[in-house]
Every structure is written in C-alpha cells, then in structure tokens.
C-alpha cells in the first residue's frame, strides 16, 4: 500500500470508493500526538487508500472530509455532499460575528 501524495486525489478517490461500496467501506483517522502525525485511511477491504501528513493545514482539510463522510454515512451514499463540502467557509463567517449561542 502506498500513500497518496495529493490531498485532492485522496479525497476524490475515497468518496468514490465509499459510494461504490458503502456497506463495507470504513474511514479511519489515526493521530499520534507525540510524533505530530496524522494518517487517514479509507478501505473497502479490497483496496486501501492512505494519506499521511504532519501539517496543521491538512487537519483543516480533513475536517471537510469528516463532514462529507458523516453526511454520507448517516444519510446514505446518495446524500448531497455539496453542503458539507462547501460548508466550511460559510460557517466561519457567522462565527466571527455571532457571539450568542447558535443551535
């Protein structure tokens, strides 16, 4: 198994994999604090996609992928993920303004 270097490729292929095989796919995130390393893995037991990083920037990207997978898994593989994937910048704006509690 080789690590995928490009984030975009990893994200695209992992979503594709889940959609093709939602029942047997899983998404694993491993974080090792002492080494400052983060490894993401998506597998359907036939093929395995992995992405390794030590950059904080990639943790932000991962948040987006987390949201996509939460949506896909809780709502089904046909769920609309455009909201989840574009949500991040949209969500940041109100958080700057709003001090009160949001639901």
């Amino acid at each position: 198994m080789v690590y995928i270097k490009s984030w975009d490729e990893f994200m695209e292929r992992s979503i594709q994999m889940f959609r093709a095989n939602p029942e047997s796919s899983r998404y694993v995130m491993k974080y090792r604090h002492c080494d400052g390393k983060l490894v993401l893995k998506v597998t359907d037991n036939l093929e395995c996609l992995k992405f390794k990083t030590d950059q904080a920037q990639d943790a932000k990207r991962m948040e987006k992928l987390n949201n996509i997978f939460f949506t896909l898994m809780a709502r089904g593989p046909e769920a609309d993920i455009t909201e989840a994937s574009t949500k991040e910048p949209a969500e940041q704006q109100p958080s700057k303004k709003g001090r009160g509690r949001r639901q």
């Binding site: 899983r26 491993k30 990083t53 950059q55 904080a56 948040e63 939460f70 898994m73 593989p77």
Partner: protein
C-alpha cells in the same frame, strides 16, 4: 466495546486524547452500519422493510474501545463538536508558516557571510540558495555553480 451516547462518547474521546499525549496513538473509525445482524438484515430485506443505516463511530487507543452511533438527525450536531474537539487536540501538527520559517532560517544560515563576497569569488550553492538571491547580488560573482 462500549456503546455510548454521542455526548459521553465525545467526553471519553477527549480523555483518550489526553491519555495518549505523551505516547500512543488514537484511531477513530467511521462506518456506515445498520446496527443489526446479517440474519436480521436479510429478514428485513426479504420483508421489504427499509433499513435504517446509522453512522457508527468507534475510537480506540489500543487499550480501550468506545463507540457511538449517529442517526441522520444528530450527525450534524455531533460533527461540529467533533471538529472542535479535534482542533483542540491536534496541536502537534506543524503550522502553515512553520515550514516557511524553517526555510528562511536555513536560507539565512546558508547565505551568511555572502554580504562580504568579493567580485572574484565563485559562488557554489544549492539551487535553494540561488533561487532566493537577487540578480544584482548574483552579478557580483564571476561564476555561479549550481547543482544539476
């Protein structure tokens, strides 16, 4: 495997991250699961019932396992708190600027002493160094040797 409600799960996950700060890893797995046995699933399929899938979240540090399951309703609330939790604990990763700072530092080290360079000097440098030196400064050298 302890199946928890989403909120206690997040609390447990927090302490799991705390416990594995000095050494150890934490794995978090997301999987789509109906939380029913295969037999039951087949029965339901045969009966034409709709199967309710949930998002199963499992976490382990190799010693303890915890898990929770999310319905279509509560995944959004969970994913927001989960993101906050991760942000708070993944602080060992390198910041965006850190790499650039490191580069600058290296560059300063590599180029220290160049200010006093004389015109007859030959600059043998890494590509990294020469890319960052102004053309005017490079002109003061008779020869510049770059690595291939």
């Amino acid at each position: 495997m302890v199946l928890l409600q989403p909120d206690p799960f997040l609390n447990e996950l927090t302490s799991m991250y705390e416990r594995n700060k000095e050494k150890g890893s934490v794995w978090v797995t997301l999987k789509r699961s109906p939380l029913a046995s295969k037999v039951k699933m087949n029965k339901m399929k045969a009966a034409g019932e709709a199967i309710e899938y949930r998002c199963l979240v499992r976490a382990t540090d190799g010693k303890r396992n915890i898990s929770t399951s999310l319905s279509a309703k509560d995944h959004q609330r969970f994913q927001a708190s989960y993101a906050t939790l991760l942000k708070a604990h993944m602080d060992a990763l390198k910041k965006e600027g850190a790499q650039r700072q490191e580069e600058n530092h290296r560059w300063r080290e590599e180029t220290s002493g160049f200010e006093e360079a004389q015109p007859w000097q030959v600059l043998i440098g890494s590509k990294h160094v020469c890319e960052r030196i102004s053309f005017d400064f490079l002109k003061t050298f008779h020869f510049v040797v770059l690595p291939p």
